[in-house]
């Protein structure tokens, strides 16, 4: 009996569910919700199947399918997963049912909402799985549309502005990337092709690499987001409905980091190496700046949104430091950030459902009326600020360690971000949950219900698991991380064109301890 | 006996110029339409001339295409003009500029 093509099934199953939802009459809200939840859970079950058949020791792409699609233009349907995309797909499949659960409070236009959610899931998984540049771009842009509508239709007061800003920022970046993809298509070594794995061998001069890298980088830096391209994020996160915020923070931001890992660095390693100091500076500024700005936010959702800017700064650092520890940590941190920030948004959504406000000043003393929620919130906040034995620490530690091995002094401002994280999160926590409940509304709140516990418990369980026993996760990430780092640090331009490439090319001075890795 | 092709071309150029001027200056949609047809026929004439000149049927074939397109265009265009005339009781093109932003 042949194995199910897990990956393809996982990519298209949400689409099929969305299609099926289309046949449910729009008035039957309860059926729609249950069906959406069931469908999303089914997809998650399928993704578990994929996880099980994934071979942990293997660094390359697995479970792949390669079909010819438009052979005249070298476009194919090529998909596959490695240790990076595996966890991103798992994260998407894991959080979609939870986001559906978090959307019970959506009462208007329920049907299109859930259809958009599932289409979004399909597009996101497609982005992570695609190994054909054309297919990748297709999924990449496809993920934009449902998100645009989720924000624009079901968002809060300033939703139109936020949706527009989100769309324009992302589109501006990705058009540059499209141009670069087309350029790459024509400069492929043999026949022009969009196939990622063939394009990896494309010979490019350093000057070309620089331009193409910058074009890719523009698209990904907006998504990550790196300061100063981040201002779409607080608006979009704040105005989006809970499920939208969760998917935005947990998965959409990862598209940027994933793109850097998968495309920007391996395709143009020399340019990436050359620009590392610049990008690391931006990332560190992002860490400190995001934390500082988060400190003075009055809106709880905006605060969490800015904390994402800081956290993603760590991820980018990990990706670019060029050590296996950093890369593994960065990838793990992508997963971690998805879990903890996703959970924070779910909690803020639960608060909003009760109090219909997101302003910190309107809360206070909630630990007394909603002790369970306060406890869960604290645990998630602690994970977000990197408390050891919770997931955030493992990732941040590996990133900073990887950084220290190669750029020792840089670690000081970066690590200071961890101090600031404690300041803004605990300060916010104190203002929301501690003290005596000042108003009547705050005193009479109801604690987490069964549905909310069902949606938070799995996340909390994972947060603790990754913190205490990250081995199963790291075991699957490490081989791919090692391969990526090796590729990043190898010189691909011949000596004549790459006059000013730092390290790696030539004598390998300063290559550090990772260069010996097989 | 044969007439020099330049006469045909000059005639076609004249027809085309009349068509252009008419299209630009007249305001009645139907008249504009007729001038457009005039331009199309000028082009047809050029095609036929050259086909004859080079002893090649390609030009003749193209004329048929142009004729078909012109017929289709006339159908659709006249239909639109008719509808507009019914609804707005005018066929003056300056009065029907409501598609502008």
């Amino acid at each position: 009996m042949t194995e199910l093509p897990w990956l393809d099934v996982v990519i298209f199953a949400p689409l099929a569910v969305a299609l099926a939802l289309g046949f449910v009459p729009k008035g039957r809200v309860e059926t729609l919700r249950t069906a959406a939840l069931g469908g999303a859970l089914f997809v998650f079950a399928l993704s578990i199947g994929m996880l099980v058949s994934f071979d942990a020791g293997e660094a390359g792409f697995q479970l792949g399918t390669s079909l010819s699609w438009i052979p005249e233009w070298g476009i194919g349907y090529v998909v596959g997963v490695d240790g990076v995309s595996l966890w991103m797909i798992m994260l998407t499949a894991f959080l979609t049912p939870l986001s559906v659960l978090a959307s019970w409070s959506i009462v208007e236009r329920v049907k299109p909402f859930f259809i958009f959610m599932l289409v979004l899931e399909s597009a996101l998984i497609g982005v992570f799985a695609a190994l054909d540049m054309f297919l990748f771009y297709l999924f990449w842009e496809a993920s934009l549309v449902p998100m645009y509508f989720l924000i624009g239709i079901w968002g809060y007061e300033k939703r139109i502005y936020a949706a527009m800003k989100f769309f324009l920022f992302t589109l501006a970046g990705s058009l540059l990337m499209l141009a670069a993809i087309i350029f790459l298509y024509f400069s492929a070594a043999g026949e022009p092709t969009f196939d990622y794995q063939s394009l990896l061998g494309t010979p490019l001069t350093l000057g070309t690499q620089r331009l193409l890298f910058l074009a890719f980088f523009a698209a990904f830096a907006v998504k990550v987001p790196l300061v100063p391209l981040h201002t779409w994020l607080p608006d979009a996160h704040t105005e989006a409905p809970t499920a939208g915020s969760v998917m935005l923070a947990a998965v959409l931001l990862k598209l940027g980091a994933y793109g850097l890992i998968r495309f920007a660095i391996p395709l143009f390693p020399d340019a990436a190496r050359e620009m590392t100091p610049l990008i690391m500076t931006l990332a560190i500024i992002g860490i400190l700046y995001g934390a500082l700005v988060a400190l003075v936010q009055k809106d709880l959702k905006r605060l969490i949104a800015y904390s994402s800017v800081a956290h993603l700064g760590f991820v980018v650092l990990g990706i670019f430091v060029g050590s296996i520890e950093g890369m593994s940590g960065g990838i793990l941190q992508m997963l971690n950030h998805g879990l903890s920030t996703g959970a924070l948004f779910m909690l803020v959504g639960a608060l909003y459902d009760r109090r219909h406000t997101r302003l910190i000043a309107d809360f206070g003393g909630l630990a007394k009326s909603v002790p369970v929620m306060a406890g869960v919130f604290l645990l998630v906040a602690l994970s977000s600020l990197g408390l050891p034995a919770l997931n955030g620490f493992v990732g941040e530690f590996l990133i900073l360690l990887g950084m220290y091995t190669r750029y020792s002094w840089w670690v000081i401002p970066a690590a200071f971000g961890i101090v600031l994280a404690a300041v803004y999160l605990l300060w916010a926590y104190q203002r929301v949950f501690h003290g005596e409940p000042a108003t009547k509304e705050n005193r009479g709140l109801s604690d987490l219900g069964m549905r909310e516990i069902a949606m938070l418990a799995p996340v909390v369980a994972l947060i603790v698991t990754i913190g205490v026993y990250p081995k199963p996760f790291l075991d699957r990430i490490n081989p791919s991380a090692e391969q990526l780092v090796t590729r990043m640090r190898r010189c691909s331009v011949d000596g004549t064109t790459g006059a000013s490439i730092p390290e790696a090319c030539g004598g390998g001075a300063g290559a550090g301890n990772v260069a010996e890795a097989p | 006996m044969s007439i020099d092709p330049s006469y045909y071309l000059a005639l076609a150029g004249l027809m085309f110029a009349i068509g252009v001027v008419g299209t630009l200056t007249r305001r009645n949609a139907i008249v504009i339409f007729m001038f457009i047809e005039l331009m199309l026929n000028a082009v047809n004439l050029i095609f036929v001339t050259f086909a004859r000149m080079w002893g090649n049927v390609d030009g003749q074939v193209l004329v048929f295409f142009v004729l078909v397109v012109a017929a289709a265009e006339a159908v659709v265009g006249l239909a639109i003009i008719l509808v507009i005339a019914r609804r707005r009781e005018t066929s003056n093109v300056d009065d029907i500029s409501m598609l502008k932003w």
């Binding site: 003075v296 602690l382 530690f397 590996l398 300041v423 300060w427 081995k471 490490n478 990772v514 | -």
Partner: protein, 635 residues
């Protein structure tokens, strides 16, 4: 001979952890038995600790070697060339700490059963306490720096949770946050220290770091040692990061006793002793810093303690001061002496905190010593046990504190650090003075209590915990009595032997230390006990107005930090958010949008809607293109 294999060690940590999980998850359903369950998990841990200790003492290899073992629990993080595991290191040093933590911990748990009895969050309290004990045990048993860091942050978290246990009170919530954040600053330094060591040694286990320390350059060793010490200043409340500890007294009193006196705050001392080879390798600089910070903190905190009226805050400053002594000991290479003082301090300071708790329990939470006196008559057991603690910390022979404090001063003298010795001896006098002040004001004189309070001795579970601690405060000194049991000798395989002066000198030094204690007590007696003390006090305060004022205001350190760091930080953050983000970055974005919209408005004019103008434009375009073509052909 059978090798030493402490299979029980993981259970010592696991028991309180399971207790904590059970209590926190099941919550109120366990209310009836929460206190007992929590005490039992820690108590059984203590028994297991004793069993392991007996096994350890059974190993009698020469020089006490072979008394250490590493127990692998599971593999933790591994990426690239980096890997750390969850391993527990069982050796004499960690066993001393385990016994202190579980022993004192058990007593405080039992005490809490009575103290917290009426609290609505009774089981949660014990859940947090158990979690604390588990984290602290992980800290002391950790075989690598990273696992130690996990325990280190874990105890910090529990400290946060327990200081803010009564979070309805603004002050408590603020103090909890302050404690966590100030500690984070220290942890920042600690974390970078971990990176330095990890990269230098390429392993984080205790043994490999300490073995590699000898081969480090002085620069690296100094950097690493000072960074680690930076972490210790946070956790162990030393200058400049001590400010959180006095505020931490907002927590329930058993918490102050367990976390902020006996165990967590001594984690820094333990850590420095654990990695003493790294400090040694720095060639004196790092140790000098440790010693001087310790000595200065001891003096500084003692000054503030003498001016404080809040009982618990006096004890908090006293704790800071005593921790300073421990660091002083570490800085003069008397590692085992530092641990010795850590142990005796755990006994008498926990005792005094619990005594203070007993008073608060009886006086409805009153903590201002000006509002009470003569309590000895109504609370005899509390008074008597408190007295043993008072005499111990004042360094009166034969109470435990005398031996450990004297040993510290003697070591300082022996190392030729006479200035440090002088500060230590002066602080000893000051210590005796402020502790006597506390004791005299509360327990001696005529009975005076706040109005409407019914004074009574505390319930049995509370005094039951006081008595054993009282006994330990009296006799605790014997664990390092030369010739009898020597802690010094027991710890030697881990931290090396402390050099103690021989001959006649130690007797003189001991006598001076004792005299300092007696002088302090006598001075306090003239001011607080003898008739006319009040007028003498007033005269003294008048005469030394400025320094007394300064000490009463805690030398304005909180204000300086507030104005110098917190306010500018917030102002800068607001600047980032409101100016840079909203105006500059978003301004550029919205400006870009406006430019596009403006351009659109401009070009829109071309769309007149007049077909003829379109056609004209079209014609114009055709003409241009055509002429271009012709022009090019001509070219």
């Amino acid at each position: 001979m059978k090798a030493f294999d402490p299979v029980l060690a993981p259970y010592i940590v696991a028991l309180p952890l399971i207790g904590a999980l059970g209590l926190l998850l099941l919550g109120r359903r366990l209310r009836a038995v929460a206190g007992l369950v929590a005490s039992a998990t820690v108590g059984v841990g203590f028994v297991l600790g004793v069993i392991v200790l007996v096994q350890m003492l059974g190993v009698t290899e020469k020089g006490g070697h072979g008394r250490e073992a590493v127990v692998r629990v599971w593999e933790w993080i591994s990426a690239g060339s980096f890997s750390v595991n969850v391993d527990l290191l069982v050796d004499p040093l960690s066993m001393v700490m385990v016994l202190v933590v579980t022993g004192v911990g058990t007593l405080i748990h039992v005490y809490s059963i009575g103290y917290m009895h009426d609290d609505p969050r009774y089981s949660r309290f014990f859940g947090y306490m158990n979690l604390f004990v588990a984290s602290m045990l992980l800290l002391v048993l950790a075989d690598n720096l990273l696992l130690l860091y996990v325990g280190w942050e874990g105890v910090g978290l529990c400290s946060y949770l327990l200081i803010g246990f009564w979070f309805e009170r603004r002050a408590a919530a603020g103090a909890a946050k302050k404690a966590f954040i100030v500690n984070r600053v220290g942890d920042f330094s600690f974390l970078i220290g971990i990176f330095v060591l990890s990269v230098t040694v390429s392993s984080l286990t205790v043994s490999s770091i300490n073995e590699a320390a000898g081969g480090m350059t002085a620069g690296i060793a100094t950097t690493a040692a000072l960074l680690l010490f930076g972490g210790a200043t946070g956790k162990s409340a030393q200058i400049p990061l001590y400010v959180w500890l006095p505020d931490a007294m907002e927590g329930p009193t058993p918490v102050s006793a367990l976390i902020h006196a006996a165990t967590m705050v001594t984690a820094g001392v333990y850590m420095v002793a654990r990695f003493s080879p790294v400090f040694e390798a720095s060639g004196g600089l790092a140790l000098g810093v440790v010693a001087w910070i310790g000595a200065l903190t001891a003096l500084w905190a003692a000054l503030m303690a003498a001016a404080e009226y809040d009982i618990k805050r006096v004890l908090a400053y006293s704790t800071i001061s005593q921790l300073g002594y421990m660091f002083l000991a570490l800085g003069v290479r008397a590692y085992s002496i530092a641990i010795f003082h850590l142990v005796t301090h755990a006994f008498f300071k926990a005792l005094m905190f619990l005594g203070a708790g007993s008073i608060m329990h009886s006086l409805d939470g009153e903590v201002d010593m000006r509002n009470m006196s003569g309590l000895r008559k109504v609370m005899p057991i509390t008074a008597f046990t408190f007295m043993t603690g008072w005499l111990a910390i004042s360094g009166i022979i034969p109470f435990s504190g005398f031996f450990s404090k004297d040993a510290i001063l003697a070591s300082a003298w022996h190392q030729g650090r006479y200035a440090l010795w002088a500060i230590g001896a002066g602080t000893a006098l000051l210590t005796a003075f402020y502790m006597s002040r506390l004791y005299f004001r509360i327990f001696e004189g005529d009975l005076k209590v706040p109005e409407g309070v019914h004074v009574h001795e505390s319930p049995p579970s509370m005094v039951g915990a006081l008595i054993p601690l009282g006994v330990l405060s009296v006799v605790g000194g014997v664990i390092n009595l030369p010739g009898l049991l020597t802690l010094d000798h027991f710890l030697e395989p881990v931290v090396g032997e402390s050099e103690v002066p021989s001959g006649f000198t130690p007797w003189i030094l001991g006598a001076i230390a004792l005299l300092a204690g007696i002088a302090g007590i006598a001075f306090a007696r003239t001011l607080y006990l003898l008739p006319g003390g009040a007028t003498r006090r007033a005269a003294l305060c008048e005469r030394f107005k400025t320094p007394v004022d300064a000490a009463r205001n805690k030398f304005w350190v909180d204000e300086i930090y507030g104005r110098g760091i917190v306010l500018p930080g917030k102002a800068f953050a607001s600047f980032c958010a409101n100016v840079i983000d909203a105006r500059l970055v978003d301004g550029a974005v919205n400006g870009g949008g406006r430019v596009v919209a403006g351009a659109g408005w401009l070009f829109r004019r071309a769309q007149s809607g007049y077909v003829r103008s379109y056609a004209l434009t079209f014609l114009f375009g055709v003409v241009v293109i055509f002429s271009l073509l012709v022009f090019r052909v001509a070219l």
